[in-house]
Symmetry: D3
Subunit: 149 residues, 6 copies
């Protein structure tokens, strides 16, 4: 029998990164009996392309998306860019304007709508810190991107 997805795919992704930031195993334990597929990971960079790349690689390696289908890469890519907008708040730049991020990410795939014709969707959640490239000169940041797949 299929379980119902009682929690939105975005909220589920956010809770994953918030739990994950405390303790990695907890994330896997608490959330593994969901109907959603997901993967979690970490990335730190002064370089947005490393953030994009880390999330894409993890998503393909964990088979959240099919590596050889452009439509799935396209869906994931735009969800990542939207999540980055939340993290960078206005300018999708890091090192170019002297800032760096340390992020946890979650990529979630599943059917969040009751109407099954709505099909599968992707959520990318990011949570961590952003700031000067000096330890401690930073504050928290979050982002969420959602796309149909």
């Amino acid at each position: 029998m299929e379980k119902d997805n009682q929690v939105g795919i975005g909220k589920f992704a956010l809770q994953l990164v918030l739990d994950f930031s405390d303790e990695t195993d907890a994330a896997n334990k608490n959330h593994s009996n969901s109907n959603y597929d997901f993967c979690i990971g970490k990335t730190g960079a002064m370089d947005l392309k490393k953030v994009v790349s880390a999330i894409e690689t993890a998503s393909k390696r964990n088979q959240i998306i099919k590596e050889d289908l452009y439509r799935e890469t396209h869906a994931l890519y735009h969800a990542i860019l939207e999540a980055i907008q939340g993290v960078t708040r206005g300018q999708s730049q890091l090192g170019e304007i002297m800032r760096t991020v340390g992020l946890r990410f979650a990529v979630v795939r599943g059917k969040p709508y009751k109407n099954k014709a709505e099909g599968e969707w992707l959520a990318v959640a990011l949570y961590g810190t952003i700031g000067a490239p000096i330890k401690g000169l930073e504050h928290e940041t979050v982002g969420l991107g959602i796309n149909h797949i």
Copy 2:
């Protein structure tokens, strides 16, 4: 004796809006023994200025910020704009591009850094839905803005 703020001010604000979206009372119960001051509320609009206004009004009414001090209004305003960037992902517009939001917000004020000289900071968290002005044609969205005060 002062309790320690074990949770970051941004994460605390995010958890408030995520809990709040399930059940309002829960938010108040679970989080009221924190060292942070906070208020929570709802706003729905095709109009960003209503979102800004709802958050500012709630923050002043709940004495999270001092109404007559421009520096506090200025700090809150920029935190709100940053949170809106996450919600709108690229264009801080709603009705102008035919979309609407239904949001819960949390405004949190406190001292998130161990070094007390860092003083007070503000976090504004937003969580809800964004989409076409037709019920159901929408997905989740989130935003977080943080500023010194």
Copy 3:
């Protein structure tokens, strides 16, 4: 027997709006033996939401997308916004910054990739004029948005 789509979906959409701007019937004649589904139309406004709305309405009325499926509305909406970026070049605003557009639009749906697993995609092409709200004080503008559906 299925014909091959020899022309990219974006180029096909652009040719539709460029032909259309000369003579409406020509557009239908020259392009109707394609494998793509499409609709064409006109919109003029100082208001982006009227542009979005005109394209969405035409796409639903001509059954390019299914009205009651959010995933299809979502795909079209983001393709429209991307096309608008080309038209407005930097700020997705019209009347707010004292300018107006007169546009022809084409919405095209089909399978542009040889690998059939790539499925269906949407292209939105816009071509027309942008300028001051005074006849003649305007120049041409174009935009193209593409999304998987």
Copy 4:
């Protein structure tokens, strides 16, 4: 005998709005023996289109640009938009995000380059306040746009 323009057209425009903000007549006295043509004015609004419109109207009335030539309107319009970017710092919006401006503007036309083949250029300078729509809750803001004409 033609005087040399010893001061850049942008600096000249900025000095006009900075002087003007102290005392209007001073602006005219101190700067009237320059080789540049200019006009100065005031505008206050929650609406960018009123700012654009006030500057365009003053420029045409004072014959800084020719009303019926699109190329001159086009040059001025883009210089105004660039100056507005400085004033609004990231989002060319006022009332939409609950803020208002009170601005002095200067529009300057002339030949700022020694090589006469460089021809005429336009500078638009803005200086004033931006903030909440409540007196006193505001700070200073400036913008400068420059374009060939």
Copy 5:
């Protein structure tokens, strides 16, 4: 006797890049009896500055603009940036956000308005693909920038 420019300068530039993408010679044949001056070329990069540079170099080498006049470089530069907005749709970035382009460009110069006092204008059209730096993971993209010169 001077031929009339029956086609807008933007449409002419777009048709050049669309034809060019099929067969280079065709572009030169079909369009060479126009009143517009133009050049066409190709550029592929993960780097916007290579795109800007390729178009500027081709325009100077083909004497579409005068190399030593800043006003002409300035006009071309802003037309290129506007065309890039259409290609990148929201963020003028390529490699920084892990994407690459393969583009054909056309730069057209001439008098598109009946009123000869409107003088010369420039159009920059771009057409090609944008996507992941992996062959096939890409879709079409277009951009058009127009400026007075």
Copy 6:
């Protein structure tokens, strides 16, 4: 006896960079009897992070902000980014889109409001040239950022 700050902190910062651009010593002489603390400097780059870094370093070395307090670095950083918006007018990029700047900067700290509870504020003013990386192919540019501290 405390002197009154008759001039706004933003105007004061602008006058510093405008005077400075003529003659460095003049800047120090004319402005040193103000109630504001300030530092001035120069920076030239195709790289925004060098601009950010030059201003931060000068501000810390001249004790305009406290190096080890994140809240002061945070306030300065956002004021710098706002000033850069004015300089770059729409895209906070330099070398990425083939342009370079030569800038004078002023960082001013003080109490610009009569109500002493408004406390200290920071202004960052930038003035100089922006253009192609070729001498002479450039025009003036300005930016101003203001933040509470």
